[in-house]
């Protein structure tokens, strides 16, 4: 990329397709849009992500939304390209700054040699900063002119979309179709105004300022049977739940969980189900357990503080042995903490929260696509093992957009109905020699004896007992079913050298940055012998981890939580306890942001150097 020395300000010109200019080919590009949330920054990002999805390109996004009600500074970063895109990129190649505060806050996220596009109506860049190509355009006034007076500067985002389309030679027909689809719903006028703003942006001869234009290299022919879909993690999780057979649920709103319950509240009515907005999180999990007792597959969900409120009832669910899916979209804690930032600090709460000995299942999706499949798995495990299953998602996965192959819905959809077949005379609600399978109400009991589902310690028939022997036996029964599940789990995904210097272990949203960091360190001049192991099953852990770990000199566990009093992050602590391997070390941070590849690389280097 060329880097002219001084800022230049362009002038609007009539709509013309770019004259033949040279196109620089890029394998991938990171564009960061910085403005205010009310400017529709997210929607340009959404358009670009969707376009990439429809153009057989990989895409990954990252966004921040202000936690204040009235909006405020907001960014959307999109990385598009032809290779495998695993993270949203450490640094931006292009920065679009709508305001002075956007410029001030984000100029350092632009890599040296990158391109700064700024709205010259609002931004005055530092003229002495020679690191970047400065492209100043009067975005606000050009938008007002194009869209015609009354709408003020609404549509700035679409104007910029047009500009980006020109810079990267994006597919105009597909973009115009997307605008029609997405904005057309708000009326013909809205769509017309948006297209006018788009055309005005596209008509800008920005190549005169940039010196040239760009084009993303085309990906190879697609290796997939079904079309690409583009969506965020919360949406993928929501529809995963529906596919898993969840038809009932209840919750209380909290960011970033709320969007799941908002969609379920309406969607479930279309599927003949029901989602209740409860008076609090305790009522929510109680409703969900009532649905489960009724024979349905039910869900409740929340974010950190709400999961804490559900803990007593979770203990009951473990004791009474009812299936349930519990979602926790993690955010920065403790308390209200950093409600719109990412953190992975609820792992131990998810596994060990509540009281008493209470083994349960905890899963975590590695990316947006996996949100769909993890919900399916949670449903299957909950029903098969009659246990609560917690899905630990997080703010980053919940809100970012990715493109992935549409799931084979016909293959995956599950139907769950209450099983009301009469139970034989020897039916026991809590058998020692099998997994408890309750008879929902409405089921005839041929013995004439109707069962009680209970949180008191009980015998095989569900009668309360104070017997120490029975308590120990029942504890073992509840533990053994989770161990049985553990034995059935697949080996976790291992990428890289089968043995060697350092094994990097991650869970949840660290997947992309860890993979890219390991890929980089394994190539280049002095390749390291490294591997990446990503855990989707956090409780119980899959079998064979201790043996796998022994094949590496160092085990670096990267997670977004604090190193704690003993110097280890939450997963690292758990793995040290489970594998008794002193080579397990931690890479931790709590800055509220997803890992940068560079941060992981630095962590790996430090650990492999033995420091």
């Amino acid at each position: 990329m060329v880097s002219p020395n001084s800022p230049v300000t362009g002038e609007a010109s009539p709509a013309t397709p770019p004259a033949p200019v040279s196109h620089t080919l890029l394998p991938d590009v990171v564009i960061r849009l910085a403005g205010n949330s009310q400017d529709g920054i997210q929607s340009i990002g959404g358009f670009l992500a969707r376009l990439a999805g429809r153009s057989e390109q990989e895409v990954m996004t990252f966004m921040t939304i202000p936690s204040t009600i009235s909006g405020g500074p907001s960014i959307f970063q999109v990385r598009m390209g032809s290779g495998e895109i695993l993270s949203a990129g450490d640094q931006a190649d292009f920065l679009v700054a709508f305001y002075q505060h956007s410029y001030d806050a984000h100029i350092n996220s632009l890599r040296a040699g990158g391109v700064l596009i700024y709205d010259s109506d609002h931004v005055t860049p530092n003229p002495d900063d020679k690191r970047f190509t400065h492209v100043g355009l009067a975005i606000t006034s050009a938008t007002i002119e194009a869209a015609g007076g009354t709408s003020k500067d609404k549509g700035k985002n679409i104007f910029v979309l047009g500009l980006i389309a020109r810079i990267f030679d994006l597919n105009l027909d597909k973009l115009r179709k997307l605008i029609q689809e997405r904005i057309g719903g708000k009326g013909d006028d809205a769509a017309r105004a948006a297209l006018m703003a788009f055309d005005a942006g596209y008509a800008h001869p920005v190549e005169n300022l940039l010196g040239h234009l760009y084009r993303l290299t085309q990906g190879g022919p697609q290796q997939q049977d079904r079309p690409t879909v583009t969506t965020d993690g919360n949406t993928a999780l929501t529809y995963g739940l529906l596919a898993a057979g969840v038809r009932y649920g209840a919750a209380y709103p909290i960011t970033p969980w709320s969007s799941i319950m908002e969609v379920l509240r309406t969607e479930l009515t279309r599927y003949g189900g029901l989602f209740i907005q409860a008076e609090d999180e305790i009522a929510a999990i109680s409703h969900a357990l009532g649905f489960a007792y009724g024979g349905h597959l039910a869900v409740t969900g929340s974010s950190g503080p709400g999961l804490s409120l559900k803990m007593e009832a979770l203990g009951w669910a473990g004791m009474a042995e009812l299936p349930l899916i519990v979602i926790n979209v993690q955010r920065g804690g403790p308390s209200t903490g950093m409600p719109t930032n990412v953190e992975q600090s609820d792992l131990l709460q998810a596994i060990y929260g509540s009281h008493g000995d209470n083994p349960r299942v905890v899963l975590s999706p590695k990316n947006v696509e996996d949100c769909f499949y993890i919900a399916l798995e949670a449903g299957r495990i909950a029903l098969e093992y009659r246990t609560p299953v917690i899905i630990l998602s997080d703010q980053a996965i919940a809100t970012r957009i990715e493109a992935f192959e549409e799931p084979d819905l016909a293959k995956h959809m599950v139907t769950v109905k209450p099983d009301l077949t009469p139970r034989p005379a020897d039916f026991k609600p809590y058998p020692f020699d099998g997994i408890s399978r309750h008879a929902p109400p409405g089921t005839k009991m041929l013995s004439g004896k109707y069962p009680t589902v209970t949180g008191l310690e009980h015998d095989e028939l569900g009668h309360p007992t104070g017997s120490p022997v029975l308590h120990a036996k029942m504890n073992a029964k509840r533990r053994e079913k989770i161990k049985k599940l553990a034995a059935s789990l697949p080996a976790p995904e291992l990428y890289g050298d089968p043995e060697g210097d350092t094994l990097v272990v991650g869970w949840g949203c660290t997947y992309g940055p860890i993979r890219e960091a390991v890929m980089r360190l394994r190539s280049g001049d002095a390749p390291m012998k490294l591997a990446h192991l990503h855990l989707r099953h956090l409780s119980p852990l899959p079998p064979g981890l201790a043996e796998t770990f022994r094949r590496y000199r160092h085990i670096a566990v990267a997670e977004i939580n604090d190193e704690g009093i003993y110097g280890y992050g939450q997963l690292a602590m758990l793995l040290r306890a489970a594998c008794a391997n002193p080579a397990i070390r931690s890479i931790c941070k709590t800055d509220g942001l997803t890992y940068k590849i560079g941060e992981i690389i630095a962590g790996i280097k430090k650990i492999s150097a033995g420091s």
Partner: protein
């Protein structure tokens, strides 16, 4: 809301084998001899015998407390949940399985203290179920601490010199919250209790009966003021017959909320009977209406077709 078509729970279908006390009896109650809760259990059997709901469709749920042990003593589907949270659990059984008849039981601590917020919201939502509050004005199971209905001056282990905090007024709370059937009874009055519980069970909506039930162990004589044989007064609420007689003008109209509030404000021991009864759409009906409209819009599409439609929009 379940996809099976099923009769609504309030109009019990007759069955061949009459359900009798023997079939409904389970474990021997573990309450202290003389505890008021025995009488409530017997009245529950009696009402179930009257209703003749198919045995498998009766659900008995409870929270935690002496009173909440009820489900173990009744041979029906049911369960023993956590302290104060039986209402949201039971409400979901009713909403998810409109084919069964849901009864919830609990104590004054369970219902008015730890579960107080759930009571308000269950009443407001008017979910179709019957809730019996077995009020002994003390914490029985945990052995004599002050409860939200303990009178000022009651000496408990947490208030050895006498309770300081003003007790709540159960009838007022229930009326305020929007319960659509609100009644009060006394465990020493079998016929009255039976009448109240039967009316509650036949009500379509959230029906609550508060029953004063003496804890002989920790609050002996708490309700003697309402026991005639101990010198008290058991005054019942005469309900309007709409027969045009002058006496009828003095009788209580249970749909009159203001009159109900007045009754609730009488000095202790007050009156016993139906304070309030009113029909408004239940949550069961309202949610079923949402589903019916949503299903109509989908033209009864299959789950798979709905899901495919959603994913097509994500392309």
């Amino acid at each position: 809301m379940s996809n099976e078509s099923s009769p609504t729970a309030t109009v019990p279908a007759p069955v061949n084998l009459p359900l009798n006390k023997k079939a409904l009896t389970a474990d021997h109650p573990t309450w202290c001899p003389g505890c008021g809760d025995f009488a409530i259990l017997n009245v529950y059997y009696r009402v179930l015998e009257k209703l003749q709901i198919p045995h498998e469709n009766i659900v008995t749920f409870a929270g935690i407390g002496c009173s909440s042990r009820m489900p173990y003593f009744v041979n029906s589907h049911g369960g023993h949940y956590i302290h104060g949270r039986a209402l949201p659990f039971a409400a979901a059984i009713s909403l998810g399985r409109p084919d069964v008849k849901v009864f919830a039981f609990g104590g004054d601590g369970d219902g008015f203290s730890i579960g107080g917020n759930h009571l308000t919201h269950a009443a407001r939502k008017n979910t179709n179920m019957t809730y019996v509050i077995m009020d002994n004005s003390v914490y029985g199971l945990t052995k004599k601490q002050t409860s939200p209905t303990s009178p000022v001056g009651f000496k408990s282990k947490t208030d050895p010199t006498g309770a300081l905090d003003r007790p709540i007024n159960p009838m007022r709370i229930l009326l305020n919250s929007g319960a659509t059937f609100v009644a009060r009874s006394h465990a020493a009055q079998i016929a009255h209790m039976t009448d109240m519980l039967e009316r509650a069970a036949r009500h379509n909506g959230f029906a609550v009966v508060e029953i004063l039930s003496e804890c002989v162990e920790f609050f002996e004589g708490a309700f003697d003021g309402a026991v005639p044989r101990k010198g008290g007064k058991f005054e019942t609420i005469e309900l309007k017959k709409n027969d045009g007689t002058p006496e009828d003008a003095l009788r209580h109209d249970p749909t009159d909320e203001v009159a109900a509030f007045k009754l609730a404000g009488l000095d202790w021991p007050g009156k016993f009977g139906v304070f309030y009864q009113h029909q408004r759409p239940t949550k069961n009906e309202l949610e079923a209406g949402l589903v019916a409209r949503a299903r109509e819009k989908t033209k009864n599409a299959s789950d798979l077709a709905l899901m495919q439609g959603t994913f097509a929009k994500m392309r």
